[in-house]
């Protein structure tokens, strides 16, 4: 505040002076690198003078004589930036992009570079989002919040659960990393979401391309990297409470967080609870094949759910050492649409319509416990930065449905259809070495051990143990300030052991001699399989004034999963018989990425095309054969060729009106195998998003009121593969109003957000929704209000 005042006075006093000869006026803007929003109150420090950025991020130095000047830009919560200006005729406006960073972290990485600079010097095509973006765009699940980023979409089930899809690929082809540890749940399943609390996340980096080099198997299509939260400032105590209410599914949510730091020790804690009812769809009935399901009051029956999450972090930080331990637990219970789950049509005597908040069968429960430690140590005169991540995760998922006889299976005794208990231990170690000034060499390894147990009367994937180890090294070379190269190589080794499984009931089989016998069929084999694969990447990043160019070529891999290798059972929900293939090779993918970004004071433009080739994409192929009257789907491998990319542009008028537009497209073709000529399942359609935001003046006690409209348009998806159906194009509009209100004295302003999603209550289908298969449209109109109050001491 004082800075601002002094700055203002200084600004006025400078402005009031008459301009002398041979002096120049240096103007510039300070922007948040991630959000491109102005940073107010940043100090721009010269040798003898300083200025403070105003509410539009602008700063100004009058009457500068010709010469060379160096300035340092500082603002709390951002990394310091320095810039040099040659003051002479034709002087241009200076743009300074600040990247959010904790001051403690910054101290630790003294010799390093800021995130913003890093994103410009590393050739990987990535996007970063910060807390501001997450708060303003918060949707029902973390991945739905990120969907606004071009190239990112989701696979949804119901209103509260979704999984990331990057450029059309999802499930185990996108690695989700939190606190440096890969999130390990039951990623392959399409009927549950990501078990991560979406509150309390401060920064996310999304890599839109193969990144096995750094993240190992599964990062074949991209990475969602949830970065550790910033370390609190010294001697602070802060907290926030967030309340959320929604009308479409009658959601009530509360999340409260606390953080504090003395000198070296700090902690963070958070609790989140959400409870929601069935979501409403803009239709009275669902038509699925020849079945008609009448809906009560537009409620998609039994899609209610609840979520309770808690986390606690404890950390220590000093000049050369930082260590943070995190314990978090995510617990959810969600119902599934009662009339049909997957492709299976159900009737029941349960009175689903008596309440829209109860969770009846079928439903699932998930509990994900995660304990991680990240430690960074700077040694050898700051030439080595050692980093360890240690993690333990326990994922316990239970799928319950009404016991029903199927085929030779008699009626089971209880509702526990499938139970998975997956324990994962991870260890990452790497050393970042500064060599010869221009090189930054990173070498390390990742170890992971996984143990998956199964239970319940339904069989889908076998119990298995998996051990994997990978070693890598990459070098980042700064040729000069503008040109950076990165090259790296990695080798991974994986061992999967699948356990045998026999049905708990007898099936009738026809013998060769014409007789029949009843046997306990074996569904999975006792097998040990080994995989090994190289990955690597080579790229350049080049900055020319306001334009940044990136070219990156890489090879990534993915180890086959236990279900891909060893399934041999009936998936009743999908009405199919799934057959694994132990002959599968590790998937390998080659990708060439390009990115051009041009950012100026009031506009930006970006384009990021890619081409991609899979040597052996693993695909669950619907065959034309039957097993016990169910269609056989068999895991096969085929070559796949894909290309596509994203476009984005934005412009700001009069520092008030911000217009943004983006588009994304992916083309996929299987170029060999039984489905040659077909696309891949769940291919997102061509889509675009246009948004306009207008910043109003402060009125009454409303501060920074901002109104925004968002318009999404998606083309029809006519590229389909059995058993998908063509999905029509659609257009949806959303509205949002953000503002701050300073009502309570002694507390920071309260942030209030009011949203209307799907304003016109449009009935549309999302090609990448699990419920698309049974012709369930997307949620109808939703009003939501979110209130965020922070406090500090």
């Amino acid at each position: 505040m004082i800075h601002k005042l002094i700055g203002g006075i200084l600004y006025l006093s400078i402005c009031s002076l008459a301009m002398a000869q041979n002096t120049f006026n240096l103007e510039g803007s300070v922007l948040d690198a991630a959000s491109k929003k102005p940073v107010t109150g940043a100090t721009v420090l010269g040798e003898t003078r300083y200025a403070v950025s105003d509410e539009y991020g602008h700063f100004n130095f009058d009457e500068l004589p010709e010469g060379v000047y160096e300035f340092k830009v500082a603002h709390m919560g951002f990394a310091d930036q320095t810039f040099t200006v040659v003051v002479k005729p034709g002087l241009q406006r200076v743009m300074v992009y600040l990247e959010t960073v904790s001051t403690a972290l910054e101290a630790i990485e003294l010799h390093g570079v800021s995130d913003r600079k890093e994103s410009r010097t590393i050739p990987l095509v990535s996007e970063s989002v910060n807390k501001d973006f997450l708060d303003k765009n918060r949707a029902n699940s973390l991945m739905q919040t990120l969907e606004k980023i071009p190239g990112v979409s989701t696979i949804n089930i119901g209103s509260g659960q979704s999984k990331p899809v990057i450029r059309g690929l999802g499930f185990n082809r996108v690695a989700v990393v939190q606190n440096g540890i890969k999130h390990e749940a039951q990623q392959w399943g399409s009927d549950h979401g990501l078990e991560i609390d979406q509150y309390g996340i401060e920064a996310i980096q999304i890599i839109k391309g193969p990144a096995s080099l750094m993240y190992g198997s599964d990062a074949i299509a991209g990475v969602v990297n949830i970065k550790p939260s910033l370390i609190p400032q010294q001697n602070t105590f802060e907290g926030e409470v967030n309340l959320l209410g929604e009308t479409n599914n009658d959601l009530l949510g509360v999340s409260a967080g606390l953080q504090s730091r003395k000198e070296h020790w700090y902690y963070r804690g958070r609790f989140t609870y959400r409870d929601y009812g069935d979501f409403k769809v803009p239709t009275d009935r669902i038509n699925y094949e020849n079945y008609i399901f009448e809906l009560h009051d537009h409620n998609l029956r039994n899609t209610a759910g609840k979520e309770a999450n808690a986390s606690f972090n404890l950390g220590y930080v000093s000049d050369n050492f930082k260590s943070e331990t995190s314990i978090s637990n995510v617990n959810t219970k969600n119902g599934f649409f009662a009339n049909a789950h997957g492709l299976e049509v159900r009737t029941s005597s349960i009175d689903y319509d008596r309440s829209n908040r109860d969770i009846d069968l079928p439903y699932h429960t998930v509990n994900h416990l995660k304990v991680t430690n990240s430690t960074t140590l700077i040694t050898h005169g700051k030439t080595h930065v050692l980093h360890f991540d240690l993690g333990y995760q326990s994922n316990h998922r239970e799928e319950h449905s009404e016991p029903v006889p199927h085929g030779y299976m008699p009626k089971p005794a209880d509702s526990r259809e499938r139970v998975f208990r997956k324990n994962t231990f991870s260890l990452n170690l790497n050393d970042k070495m500064s060599v010869l000034n221009r090189h930054e060499l990173v070498a390390g390894f990742n170890l992971e051990y996984q143990h998956n147990d199964i239970d319940g009367w339904g069989f889908l994937i076998p119990a298995y143990q998996r051990f994997s180890v990978g070693g890598f090294a990459y070098d980042q070379v700064e040729v000069d300030q503008q040109l950076h190269l990165q090259a790296g190589i990695r080798y991974d080794l994986g061992i999967i052991h699948t356990e045998p499984y026999y049905d708990w009931f007898q099936s009738q089989i026809n013998n060769e001699d014409g007789t029949t016998s009843r046997v306990y069929l074996q569904r999975s084999q006792d097998k040990r399989l080994n995989f090994g694969s190289f990955s690597g990447s080579l790229g350049i990043a080049y900055t020319l004034d306001d334009t940044n160019f990136k070219v990156n070529a890489g090879r990534s891999f993915r180890m086959p999963l236990a279900n891909e290798l060893a399934s041999d059972g009936v998936n009743y929900h999908m009405y199919r018989y799934e057959k694994g293939n132990s002959e599968l090779d590790a998937e390998a993918s080659w990708q060439l990425d390009l990115e051009v970004d041009h950012i100026r004071d009031n506009y930006y433009l970006g384009v990021s095309p890619f081409i991609n080739y899979f040597e052996n994409y693993i695909y669950l192929n619907p065959t034309s054969d039957y097993y016990e009257t169910l269609q056989i789907y068999e895991y096969t491998q085929s070559e796949v060729f894909r290309y596509g990319g994203e476009l984005k542009a934005g412009i700001r008028f009069f520092e008030r009106l911000q217009l943004d537009a983006s588009g994304e497209y992916v083309y996929s073709r299987q170029t060999s195998g039984p489905k040659e000529g077909y696309t891949l399942p769940f291919s997102p359609p061509l889509s675009g998003r246009f948004s306009a935001a207008f910043q109003f003046d402060d009125t009454w006690f409303f501060k920074q009121p901002m109104l925004s409209m968002d318009y999404k348009i998606a083309a029809a998806q006519k590229e389909i593969i059995p058993p998908e159906e063509i999905t029509d194009g659609y257009q949806v509009m959303n509205f949002s109003l953000n503002m701050k209100v300073g009502l309570l004295s002694g507390l920071p302003s309260m942030s209030i957000r009011f949203n209307i999603n799907n304003i016109l209550n449009t009935k549309y289908f999302n090609h990448t929704s699990f419920y698309r298969l049974i012709d369930v449209p997307e949620p109808g109109r939703n009003f939501s209000i979110s209130i965020n109050q922070s406090f500090n001491k």
Partner: protein, 166 residues
Amino acid sequence: MRNYKYIYMKRIQYFIVSIIGMMLLACSGDDSVIKDEEKPTISLNYIDGFPQTCSVLKRGSSYDFRALVTDNFELASYSIDIHHNFDHHTHDDQGVNCELEAVKTAVNPLIYMENYMIEGGVDEYEIIVTVEIPEDVDTGDYHCQYSVTDKTGWQGRTSIDIKIVE
């Protein structure tokens, strides 16, 4: 300094332009293959179609199950599944409601699951399968489900509520 930068810029521009060119070239080879995007269909809606909704089948008798299947491109296989519906777990898709008996527990229900091939890659086929209803199976509400696939892997399904009586 400026010159140095200029040379770099030129080189990088050439590099990027040539990569975009390569990408366009790689992507321009369009596939003119006509893809099969149609599911086969099953019809019981003709005189010989059997069973019809609410058909009553007697124990100890045999019946010709008949359905017409059609597709735009090469039918491949079909299956017939008869299972009990004593617990009312599902209903048929024929648009007619059949009155169900009271819920009961299965003792020795009929389980009929057979798969067949359709030879010759035809686009039209009449399923004719003789099904014998054993003397000792439970009477009550049953379901009959026909499924058919084509060569591509598209599947059509339909199911009918039937009853088995003494």
